[in-house]
Assembly symmetry: C2
Homo-oligomer: 152 residues x 2
């Protein structure tokens, strides 16, 4: 619109590109999940529970990259609507292991398929080799950012 290249490196910054890709992925997921009446966080919670039954609220929060307070709000809604069950008493400690109900599992099926198709579209232009490279590169970035390698 305004001008073209005053000339710095937003276009060459991997950080910016990472944010751009993540934003595009999120938008694409929202687009396919909206018709199913499901938000990305909503889907993430169900998918996590399908793959790792018995996760606690805090564990789900970490897996979905939100705070445990946020996840708690969502879990209470999912429980109220019958997608998820949690025992009234904690079997050990305070952690309440959550599980999908049959209704939750059913509702996840369509969403999961939709999201997998988005992921497939995302990877459509990449060779197997490139996908493997992407995997290693992203893991390295995460590792470095979290500072897993410093300190003792």
């Amino acid at each position: 619109m305004s001008q073209e290249r005053v000339g710095v490196d937003l276009e060459t910054s991997l950080g910016y590109l990472l944010k751009e890709a993540s934003s595009a992925l999120r938008a694409a997921m929202e687009e396919v999940l909206r018709p199913l009446g499901m938000s990305v966080t909503h889907y993430s919670c169900l998918e996590l529970l399908a793959q790792r039954p018995g996760l606690s609220n805090s564990e789900l929060a970490r897996g979905a990259f939100v705070t445990r307070q946020t996840m708690n709000v969502l879990l209470q809604a999912l429980e109220r609507d019958g997608y998820v069950t949690r025992p009234a008493e904690a079997p050990v400690g305070k952690a309440l292991p959550a599980r999908l109900t049959p209704r939750g599992r059913r509702s996840l099926e369509k969403a999961s398929a939709a999201v997998r198709s988005v992921e497939a579209r995302m990877l459509a232009g990449l060779t197997e080799t490139e996908q493997s490279a992407a995997f290693r590169i992203l893991q390295s970035m995460i590792h470095s950012l979290r500072g897993d390698n410093e300190g003792a």
Copy 2:
């Protein structure tokens, strides 16, 4: 905490890994920007203006991956606090070209250095070749997700 590997593919999903990396990057940026009293969106806006002076509110919003309404609220605050100036009248159309004030430029300096150090840390474990690969791969993902290649 609960169990280890019930066993599906969250650990092998590039979509999940992308979200994880983006989340780690955002957290690292927030960590270094907080001492400077600056949020990520706040920083993004200033950095965009430094690199592309004269961007309009809507263009800044697209560049920072937020809606133009959200960017407008931020811009008004930045203008009120003297980091940014916009003309009272649009030179053409309705778009108001925004520019950094000296104060805005000064405030950006430290933030920009901090963010660049985060990006450097993110890339620390990667070779030049891998960084080039990451660039091409991320661009391909963005391109595919946006569906630039379909239709006419």
